[in-house]
């Protein structure tokens, strides 16, 4: 294994052990809350659409909104400073302190302030900074960075916090329970609030037309920080601006739900500073009227650019600016759940969208550190309240990282990997990105290829060169491909003239060269239901190169696939796809590669195989033609299949045919294609996989037949369980 990979593997292993359990337990609570809470919203999808529309429009008109907001805040009596970068923002904030002769600051939680490292800066200038958010307070005394954008100390257990407080404060009666710890912090922090010269907050939203800011919190520390001292500094990225006050409404209902799963967070502050509330002069404790302070309230809004205006001009990074920092993409991500934001994060931001933020505000190097932890599984996409295609941003940044750091070994693999990438991606990525070619070669030379692939020296070499973990069994290539088998049996068995429908079964690389049986089962199933089926040779979908950030290669693949299928689609035929990640290409990712019309045609006419079977049965096809039974089955859908909302079709078909179905509840199998083969991620993939296995191995469930829809899930479960998984279509196909 290369030194880099070994180091990554070791770091991940350590975080799996030290922080993983806490993160997993806490994100599980957030996710349960989110699922329950969004289920109660009748108009969840409309709210998301509305939220996205508002952000699209706001980012489009950002320069004019900055001007409008500036005018409004100044009319209200506040000051606005547009800071070009972190240093500029810090310099201005320090000036505010100097002018006021201020020495102490109480802060409420703000990721933007982490981004500019304002604490360090002010402390160097001799100012005492206190974080008042309880999680931030814990991190401040622990001298650690946040590991989550909403719950920054999510990686710490209560015991750890108790130990930490005891060590730092040495109280006579050390607090232990959550209640005692909270009250200890409350009292300590109240003293800081009452002694503070300046209060600092972030802002979740800023309204251009009125100068109002919206702050979403649950503890009340932001309220105290904003109103107790006479000076309030708010720091926010320019992307937080929305045009009108009413625009806040959809976000109020979305933000808490998406993040921690609460319907509404305890406090939604709508402040139009300088606020009417009188400042409290704690230095005159006995003077009525809050100390009778005659100080004028002072308000400074620091609007931070720090790369954002450039992101706005960047076709692919631009959507990052729609992000409302709810962290749904972190919570929903299996990798994040297991290693947390200290692995899955850059200088400041963590989780799925962090790649976009880090690439935009800190540059590619910060993004490169963790970008590969996004497997492109897409589970975050339906969770995002502003409908950002987060995996796409990750792939784009991966592509840029690839091309920003060329390696010198290309000649070694050039013959093997006929991709469209000019220099760039490392060997490991190029190898996995060209999986289709490998599979074709492997099949052509099977069984010799399989034999070589099983030899220890070969595995050692593969591990050293490409980082393919030697512990992960390799797929076994089949000599007779699905396409060959189909031709060999004489093509379609149902005549076009007798058939109601005509379908092309898409022979993806895995089905064609490795899991040929599931392809055969699909053909038999469709024919039993009266479909005229063809299995032509069609190019690879481009999923493999896309997932390695090899966009040029994926783009070429998309055009080739469309070229091969267009005629069939134009003549009213259907495309039936077995591999969900390939279906997701046709239905989602191709939007980025094909002209709109072509994308729509393919999107509208392609189906997941069990979705198609469901449709046929609904339209009168005879279910008796399939294999019915009362077997008990344990079913794991597939990330992309679930994101496309297709899981239900398989469940419905199985139930209809009489099977007793237990569906998996975990977000992911931990594999996502190449991920579990890579030596640096192998342990993490396994850790995630065992969550799934655990559910299926519970007492009373061990007799179930294991069904999986996707290639990677099949590989993963096959390696981790004694029962061999099959595709649902193999269960229902007639002999």
């Amino acid at each position: 294994m290369s030194a880099d990979r070994a180091e990554t593997a070791a770091r991940l292993r350590e975080l799996l052990e030290t922080e993983g359990d806490s993160v997993q337990a806490n994100t599980a609570v957030f996710n349960r809350g989110r699922y329950d809470s969004v289920a109660e919203l009748d108009d969840y999808e409309e709210l998301k659409d509305r939220a996205r529309e508002i952000k699209e429009d706001a980012i489009e008109r950002l320069p004019e909104l900055i001007d409008e907001l500036t005018e409004s805040v100044e009319e209200n009596g506040g000051h606005v400073y547009l800071a070009s970068d972190a240093a500029d923002a810090n310099r201005y904030i320090e000036e505010v302190f100097a002018e006021r002769g201020a020495e102490t600051l109480v802060k409420s939680k703000s990721m933007t302030s982490e981004e500019i490292e304002v604490n360090e800066h002010l402390e160097r200038a001799g100012i005492e900074v206190t974080e008042t958010d309880l999680a931030e307070f814990v991190l401040q005394i622990a001298e650690e960075d946040p590991s989550h954008i909403v719950a920054p100390a999510i990686h710490k257990s209560r015991d750890e916090i108790a130990r930490l407080i005891e060590e730092v404060f040495e109280p006579d009666d050390p607090p232990e329970t959550a209640e005692e710890l909270t009250m200890f912090a409350r009292e300590y922090l109240l003293e800081k609030v009452t002694g503070a010269d300046v209060g600092m907050t972030g802002a979740n939203f800023l309204v251009a037309e009125s100068g109002t800011m919206m702050l979403v919190t649950s503890e009340g520390n932001a309220r105290k920080s904003a109103v107790a001292p006479d000076t309030h500094v708010a720091l926010a990225g320019v992307e937080k601006i929305v045009p009108r006050f009413e625009d806040l409404a959809p976000f109020v209902e979305l933000i808490g739900r998406s993040g921690t799963g609460q319907d509404l967070t305890s406090y939604v502050s709508l402040l139009t500073p300088p606020v009417e509330s009188p400042p409290i002069d704690f230095e005159s404790p006995d003077v009525p009227g809050f100390g009778g302070s005659d100080a004028e309230r002072e308000f400074h809004l620091v609007l931070l650019d720090n790369g954002r205006m450039a992101m706005r001009e960047d076709t692919h990074l631009c959507e990052t600016l729609y992000c409302i920092r709810c962290a749904a993409c972190s919570n929903t991500c299996a990798n994040f759940q297991h290693v947390g934001g200290h692995a899955f994060g850059g200088e400041t931001y963590s989780g799925g969208i962090a790649t976009g933020w880090e690439a935009g505000v800190h540059g590619l190097d910060s993004a490169a550190e963790f970008n590969d932890l996004c497997t492109g599984c897409s589970r975050c996409v339906p969770a995002c309240p502003v409908k950002i295609d987060i995996p796409w941003i990750n792939e784009v940044v991966r592509d840029r990282i690839n091309h920003g750091r060329g390696e010198g070994f290309d000649f070694l693999v050039d013959g093997l990997v006929p991709d469209a990438e000019e220099g760039g991606p490392d060997l490991q990525k190029r190898l996995f990105g060209n999986y289709g070619t490998l599979a074709r070669l492997g099949s052509a030379s099977a069984p010799v290829s399989n034999w070589i692939g099983s030899l220890p020296p070969a595995r050692i070499a593969m591990e050293r060169l490409f980082g393919i973990d030697r512990r992960r069994p390799l797929p076994t290539f089949r000599r007779e491909t699905l396409v060959d088998w189909f031709e060999g049996r004489g093509g379609p068995r149902v005549d076009a003239v007798d058939a109601d429908r005509e379908a092309v079964l898409y022979a993806d690389a895995y089905t064609n060269y490795v899991a040929v049986d599931r392809g055969k089962a699909a053909v038999r199933t469709l024919e039993a239901l009266g479909v005229h089926v063809r299995v032509p040779e069609v190019p690879e979908s481009g999923r493999a190169p896309l997932s390695q950030g090899m966009l040029a290669t994926a783009d070429e693949a998309a055009s080739a696939v469309y070229g091969a299928l267009a005629e069939h689609v134009d003549s009213g035929g259907d495309i039936v796809v077995i591999e969900p990640s390939d279906l997701a290409m046709f239905r989602a990712d191709y939007e980025h590669f094909l002209p709109e019309r072509s994308f729509e045609r393919l999107d509208e006419n392609s189906y997941e195989v069990l979705e198609y079977v469901f449709g046929l049965l609904e339209n009168g096809a005879n279910e008796e033609a399939l294999r019915t039974g009362d077997d008990r089955v344990a079913y794991h859908s597939h990330c992309q299949q679930r994101s496309l909302n297709l899981e239900g079709y398989t469940e419905a078909v199985l139930s209809r045919l009489g099977y007793d179905v237990l569906t998996s509840e975990v977000e992911c199998c931990g594999m996502a294609g190449s991920f579990g083969y890579k030596s640096q991620y192998y342990d993490l993939a396994l850790d995630i996989g065992y969550d799934l296995v655990e559910q299926f191995e519970q007492p009373g469930e061990r007799d179930r037949i294991v069904l999986t829809s996707g290639t990677s899930c099949t590989d993963q479960l096959d390696d981790l369980m004694t029962r061999e998984p099959i595709h649902p279509v193999e269960l229902i196909a007639p002999e």
């Binding site: 209200n76 309880l134 959550a178 209640e179 009340g220 409404a249 009417e276 809050f290």
Partner: protein
């Protein structure tokens, strides 16, 4: 005027939040309020005609009185039935501080000031906060945190909240 349907929704939401709900009418107001208030108590002036705070509630408190008070009494501009949220305006006599610094917050609400949902609330807020360029807090239940390992109430703000609904107002 809030419909019975809206009132019912409001009651259910408050119950789910563990927020107390008491009812009174203008003549019974002071007496009912006194029962809810634990002393020492501070308050901000009520905007309802004919309703004043009892003597035991200190208006315009000193910083020490504010810190030492157990109960804070303020008016809510209106409430959102489906979430049990209270809209608390920020006023010149410090209702924002009174509502956040004390362990127990009592919010006085006129029966007619309950709106159904967030969209309705925001069209009203748009006028009262946006156009007026004022400030308000939408408070849903007591202050809360889960940062110390499990849910705890009263992280920084009130641990308990009571709504006093004044009928016929």
């Amino acid at each position: 005027m809030a419909t019975t349907h809206t009132q019912g929704a409001f009651e259910r939401s408050l119950a789910a939040l563990d927020v107390g709900l008491s009812r009174t009418d203008p003549p019974g107001f002071e007496a009912t309020l006194s029962e809810l208030v634990s002393e020492p108590a501070v308050g901000a002036r009520l905007p309802f005609e004919g309703l004043g705070l009892p003597e035991t509630v200190t208006l315009d408190p000193s910083p020490r009185e504010l810190e030492e008070a157990v109960t804070g009494v303020t008016a809510a501009s209106f409430a959102v039935a489906e979430y049990g949220s209270l809209v608390l305006p920020a006023t010149e006599d410090g209702s924002e501080q009174v509502s956040v610094f004390c362990d127990h917050h009592v919010a006085v609400l006129a029966e007619s000031d309950i709106v159904r949902d967030i969209p309705t609330a925001f069209s009203r807020l748009s006028e009262e906060v946006g156009e007026a360029r004022a400030s308000a807090i939408v408070a849903t239940g007591p202050s809360a945190t889960a940062d110390m390992g499990e849910l705890v109430r009263g992280a920084h703000g009130p641990k308990t909240v009571d709504v006093l609904l004044v009928e016929g107002l």
